[in-house]
Amino acid sequence: MSAPLSRKSFLTLTGASLGAAALAACAGPSTSGGGTTDKSTSIDWSKIKPAATISFMSSHPGKSRETELKLIEAFHAANPDITVNLITGGSNYEEVAQKFQTAQAGTEVPDVVVASDVWWFRYAVSGTVLALDELLNAVGVSTSDYAPGLISDYEYNNKQWAVPYARSTPLFYFNKDHFKAAGVPERAPATWSEFSEWAPKIKAAQNSASGYQNAYQYPAIAGYAGWTLQNVLWGMGGSWSKEWEITADAAASVSAMQWVQDSIVKDGWAGVSSKNAITDLQAGAVSATISSSADLTATLKAAKEANMRIGVGFLPGGPVSASPVCPTGGSGLVVASKTAPERQLAAAKFVTFVTNAQSAATLSAATGYMPVAKDADISAIVAQTPEFATVVDQLKVTRTQDFAKTFLPGGDQELAKAATKIMNEKAEVKATLSDLRAALETIYTKDVKPKLKS
């Protein structure tokens, strides 16, 4: 221990430590004002050569990792000069968003990122992703190549910020055997009032079954409440918001959420899933639920193996509106703005390739996501899985989600908090929704309004 440290090694050590200091000095935000600049406007894309390597960060929505690798392989075959590395960014959209946002503090960001309905807008506003209009032009793809209802979801400030990728709608899943045992029609109910007539019979027929819980299971609150409850709200003439005006505590919204609470507390035929409503349905613990169409293929496969008959149908309507009462969901692909133009061009080539007609059909067949390309040929999928026709047909009667759910940072969390109080804690509906409105309005005034470009 007493051996002296040589001057040279001491200096080396010190140098290494200082090097680490420099390395750790990654950039925080600037407070000098200014904000974001739109880089895409000043680039002549025809003079740019696409980069040789780019990365694609995904959560493999709908258990699609193998399919994504297949799509990348096909892309490599069509574009031998570009290599795409698939990065697992987490197990859901939120985890991917977390990684992408924290990556902004460093120097290396993923080129193409999966962004859910709640994330692309925040990226667009904070300037971390690129407007795609010119890039799409540069690679010879038009927005009219995509399903119109799906591509228009990503417009803001007259620009296109993402292209649709793994897009879903919620579907009504039900256990046909349970419906049959109760003597009700083996189809999805047309309206919620029809279902509330069936529900007590369905529950009564299963009452002796061990572990049976409820005729209907609301999806797990975290991640699903804000999305799927829009269906009940819209059917009864309510909504979370109308554009930027928060309507969560309007009379129609209050009575819709009161109906939800009654179905659980007063009438006792519905429950709330702890984690995964589809698993609850597969376990035979509940007779019906609402879940993403992304679960379709896997659910039907598992049901077949378990000798269980599961049916799917449109989301039920309400007394005010029978249709459209179905929100779309899922994710699109965005291109990071922090990287070099060469990488952005390569990213655009990749993004348009994995969402073209053929790739879209491949992803749809493997998962249950909607075909995002207008010309995607889905006849083979429907032949193999007839239930898939429901997904495609329902796409025609979808409604754009409420801004409060998609565009307010933390809006989804606030909706989930309010839903928890109403559905799990029997809280007074009107008061809870008034608090919710106040919280959402604060978020809008503080975090969104100042950043909106007129």
């Binding site: 440290l5 680490a20 200091a21 935000p29 004002g33 925040r122 709330v272 989804d412």
Partner: protein
């Protein structure tokens, strides 16, 4: 560490004892550790020059050994701490390139909002119950495992095992146990004709659930540390007490507990700090913090759980840091007085 400390350290190194062995040996023997740092009288002539050279070289060696660590601590502990305090004064959306300064605005907002009382309340409940629970049960387990029992070594390993498991794994497995539809617990309850409580959906039960799992995971740590403490209790003291007619309860209260006080103090500090920073189990079992938002988890949710409010989240982190700082200072200042170091 001051220069005089360096001198004290070098006095005990073998190389320096050569210069004046007798004198150094006396100094070491007579002076308690704290006082050995007194400045030494200057030495005349050649010897002093040699000493100075040696002393300089030893000081350099000290710096060479200490500097990298000090630098690393500065870099990876103090620098983020100070940066975080700076971020807490900003209105900054996570990932955005620019931010506006709001001074103490984030703190005012936190303490004004209903979240503050909820979050601080949950933090207090979680911390008190997990620290108290793990220490009390840990002591009980340690007392049991301190007996001469068959399979004692195996039992000790089993008790300690959860502590070294990954919190994520533990959380996932316990989620399966608590799941009201296909969990083991609900299966057992169905056996007696009961439906499972809504562990995840009911915020109160969710907090109970994470507390139970956290205690289960950290019990082994307290048990092992207490076991070590128990084994250092001198048996002759206990024997003497029982010869004097002290009951086993009396021996425990009057001899074992006071002698364990350094162990208890150590455990109190370490488990309090780790409970206040508990994250993995809460994140895995209740990802949206339904009823389980402690300070550290709320800080995470505000920045990464879809709100993206990095500045506000940093302010909550600073509140947590101050709470930890004050608690540790109070413990060191007041609680340690009541501790007996044999």
């Amino acid at each position: 560490m001051g220069r005089s400390d360096i001198g004290a350290a070098t006095q005990r190194t073998p190389t320096t004892t050569r210069s004046n062995p007798a004198r150094l040996a006396t100094a070491d023997a007579v002076l308690p550790p704290g006082e050995a740092a007194l400045p030494r009288p200057p030495r005349p002539g050649l010897e002093a020059r040699r000493w100075n050279k040696r002393s300089r070289r030893d000081a350099l060696v000290f710096v060479a050994f200490a500097a990298p660590n000090v630098l690393l601590i500065l870099l990876f502990t103090y620098r983020p701490l100070i940066t975080n305090i700076y971020y807490s004064t900003l209105d900054w959306t996570l990932g955005a390139a620019s931010a506006t300064s709001v001074g103490l605005g984030n703190y005012v907002e936190f303490f004004d909002s209903p979240d503050a009382s909820a979050v601080l309340g949950v933090t207090a409940i979680f911390t008190v119950t997990t620290v108290g629970g793990a220490m009390a049960l840990g002591l009980l387990v340690a007392l049991t495992l301190n007996q001469r029992l068959k399979g004692r070594t195996f039992a000790r390993a089993v008790v300690f095992a959860p502590y070294v498991l990954s919190g994520v794994g533990v959380g996932l497995v316990w989620l399966f146990i608590f799941d009201p539809t296909y969990g083991v617990l609900s299966w057992m309850l169905r056996g007696i004709g009961q439906l499972s409580p809504q562990w995840v959906n009911d915020p109160k039960l969710a907090l109970v659930m994470v507390i139970l799992v956290y205690i289960w995971k950290n019990l082994g740590y307290c048990a092992v540390v207490y076991l070590a403490g128990l084994q250092s209790v001198p048996p002759q003291l206990l024997e003497a007490a029982s010869l004097d007619g002290a009951s086993s309860a009396r021996r425990f209260v009057s001899i074992v507990v006071p002698l364990l006080s350094p162990t208890t103090f150590f455990l109190l500090i370490t488990t309090l700090l780790s409970s206040l920073q508990a994250f993995d189990i809460i994140r895995i079992m209740t990802p949206s913090g339904n009823g389980t938002s402690t300070l550290i988890f709320d800080s995470y949710l505000q920045a990464f759980g879809s709100y993206n409010r990095a500045g506000y989240s940093a302010a909550i982190s600073v509140v947590l840091f101050l709470a930890l700082l004050i608690m540790t200072a109070v413990q060191l200042r007041f609680v340690e007085r009541k501790v007996h170091y044999s």
